[in-house]
């Protein structure tokens, strides 16, 4: 089932994974560059600049998610419901995890 999901929705999962990594890179720069963790203004600026730079990609990921949802809901054979649910759980879980990482280390 997971293999089927990966085969069917790989582009959705991949684009969300890239967006999640981008989000962590932007909002928790200390994970990638520990030397900046002691900074205050520099850390805030780094986050500000990085969030600005990843924003277009986040918008793109949102559009892809919406397109995927519309596309799958409009033509959904019964067998697809499980893979769709797995994809949804993966995406939602991934974003929840991203949020937790940023909250803890950002």
């Amino acid at each position: 089932m997971i293999a089927a999901t990966l085969k069917r929705d790989w582009w959705l999962l991949a684009s969300n994974a890239v967006a999640m990594i981008g989000c962590v890179w932007a909002n928790a720069p200390g994970i990638f560059e520990p030397s900046t963790r002691g900074f205050d203004v520099g850390y805030a600026l780094l986050i500000y600049l990085r969030v600005q730079s990843v924003q277009p990609f986040l918008v793109l990921a949102c559009l892809m998610n919406a397109a995927w949802l519309v596309f799958r809901l409009r033509r959904r054979p019964r067998a697809d419901l499980r893979t769709m649910a797995i994809s949804l759980v993966a995406v939602c879980g991934g974003w929840l995890g991203t949020y937790v990482i940023i909250w803890k280390f950002g």
Binding site: G38, F39, D40, V41, A44, L45
Partner: protein, 501 residues
């Protein structure tokens, strides 16, 4: 919830526990964009202890290695110039191009500090007596401090810590609480450039922090730039607590315009020097003294024509000549001085009080104002306004024009506009002011010379940056060494002071 601006102590952001904060505004919108923590005496002490712990290691680092840190710091600041200028403008209000100039003038002192091994070399006399050599060396003082104003949050901290750290001191900086982010960022970059933890610390604060610095027994020297009354207080209190102090105060710089001056150039120079950075510069030119009625009338006519072409805009507007002043309190103070000038009988030729920028009605903008027929006895002439206000004081003769800046309570800078070399030379020699420009409206000396005013513009006797800066931040040790030849000289006690025979 606005962000907190924290102290920077021992190489990391430090959360203060005073529970007291100062609002940091966005002058373009009038909104509070952050709040800065105000330090307690104990928090200042923590910064001083961090600096003291770092001192021995830093002072014993050879000067060439210290210079390399300065080289790296310069590289980092240059690489981040856009980001730093935006940060500065967002809290001060000056336009981005002016913020870059602010940072660049500070970097020029860092460039000077890159050559510190040469500047630190001492003197040597071989054979001052039989078997006697005398040599002197300059040694760092220990922990030193700088208290800096809001109007140049990049340049003035770099003036101070650039030289002070390069000669081997460790530094505690207390920047203005109105635009504190850039100095913290500079400290972070100094760390990134290779300065050890504790070499440059930043504490934010008000009078509590200033007094803690002025009375702390481990701080050996204090450099201050601000208003004259506070400068006087800093000088007195610091000196009473055995500190070396240089305290720069206010200014009321005059521009003397002789009848032979290139009037088109004068008007361009004057508008830039009087209104640039909304007049919030200690080297602004808020008083112009045309000599002779004809010169005065022509100058006034040209200024009245030129001023409407000035564009007041938000800091990020690339076409704006200047932006807002720093706070609403400061705006009210400037408006109060304009009103005072009117009440005292000066003619308000151009009135900038009602200026409002569409879409930024709550920003602290003031339009350019021009006064004519200002008299020396008016308080609006005698005091520093620190806003976009230009005053014309008419003089009948060169001698009368020379007397105005010479007799004014402030003596920071002065400029003369003329094509007559003899008159300019005579003026430069006789005027009772510390920095003179000849056809230069803002005569801030280059980094390898020194900055300092006279009279109530500066308390203390050593200027900022250049070789005077090296002298201020170091103490001289002189060694007299004798290597007698015991076979040739008699061992004998001497009970009189040694003299050279």
């Amino acid at each position: 919830m606005v962000r907190d601006i924290r102290h920077f102590i021992d190489g990391a952001a430090f959360d203060g526990a005073s529970g007291r904060f100062g609002d940091v505004f966005n002058p373009n919108t009038g909104e509070v964009q952050a709040r800065v923590q105000l330090a307690t005496t104990g928090e200042v002490d923590r910064a001083v202890q961090a600096a003291q712990n770092a001192f021995d290691g830093w002072a014993s680092t050879n000067p060439q290695r210290r210079a390399r840190v300065m080289f790296d710091f310069k590289r980092l600041v240059e690489a981040r110039m856009d980001e730093l200028a935006e940060l500065l403008s967002s809290e001060h209000g000056k336009v981005i191009a002016d913020s870059k100039g602010d940072i660049q003038r500070g970097l020029e002192v860092i460039e000077f500090a890159c050559g510190i091994p040469h500047a630190l070399k001492g003197e040597y006399t071989q054979g001052a007596g039989p078997g006697i050599d005398v040599y002197s060396m300059r040694q760092p003082l220990g922990v030193v401090a700088g208290i800096t104003p809001f109007n140049f949050p990049g340049m003035i901290p770099m003036w101070m810590f650039g030289v002070a750290i390069a000669v081997g001191n460790t530094f505690v900086l207390k920047p203005s609480e109105r635009d504190p982010s850039l100095p913290v960022r500079l400290a972070e970059l100094m760390l990134e450039a290779g300065a050890p933890n504790g070499v440059l610390n930043v504490v934010h604060g008000d009078k509590t922090a200033v007094d803690a610095i002025l009375t702390h027994p481990l701080i050996h020297a204090v450099s201050f730039v601000g208003s004259s009354d506070i400068a006087h207080y800093v000088y007195q209190t610091g000196a009473a607590n055995h500190k070396r102090v240089q305290a720069m105060g206010g200014a009321k710089n005059h521009g003397i315009v002789l009848p032979d001056a290139d009037m088109a150039q004068v008007v361009k120079d004057l508008t830039g020097a009087a209104f640039g950075s909304a007049g919030e510069r200690c080297m602004a030119l808020p008083v112009v003294v045309p000599v002779g009625k004809k010169t005065a009338d022509e100058l006034r006519e040209r200024l009245v024509a030129e001023i409407p072409s000035l564009k007041v805009g938000i800091s990020t507007d690339a076409e704006a000549h200047y932006g807002p002043v720093v706070t609403q309190v400061h705006k009210d103070r400037v408006l109060g001085w304009i009103e005072k000038g009117v009440q005292e009988g000066a003619e308000l030729v151009v009135d900038g009080r009602d200026f409002s920028l569409q879409g930024h009605e709550k920003g602290y903008f003031i339009g350019p104002s021009l006064f004519d027929h200002v008299k020396p006895e008016m308080s609006a002439y005698q005091e520093e306004i620190f806003g976009p206000v230009l005053q014309i004081v008419r003089a009948e003769s060169f001698e009368e024009a020379l007397a105005l800046p010479s007799q004014h309570q402030y003596g920071n800078g002065v400029a003369i506009f003329t094509q007559n070399g003899r008159a300019a030379r005579d003026f430069a020699a006789r005027v009772n002011v510390g920095m003179v420009g000849i056809n230069v409206p803002i005569p801030v000396p280059v980094a390898y010379h020194t900055f300092g005013g006279w009279k109530r513009s500066a308390f203390g006797d050593i200027n900022q940056h250049g070789m005077e800066g090296v002298r201020f931040w170091t103490k001289t040790k002189t060694v007299t060494a004798r290597w007698p030849d015991s076979a040739l000289e008699h061992a004998d006690s001497s009970f009189v002071i040694p003299t050279m025979r």
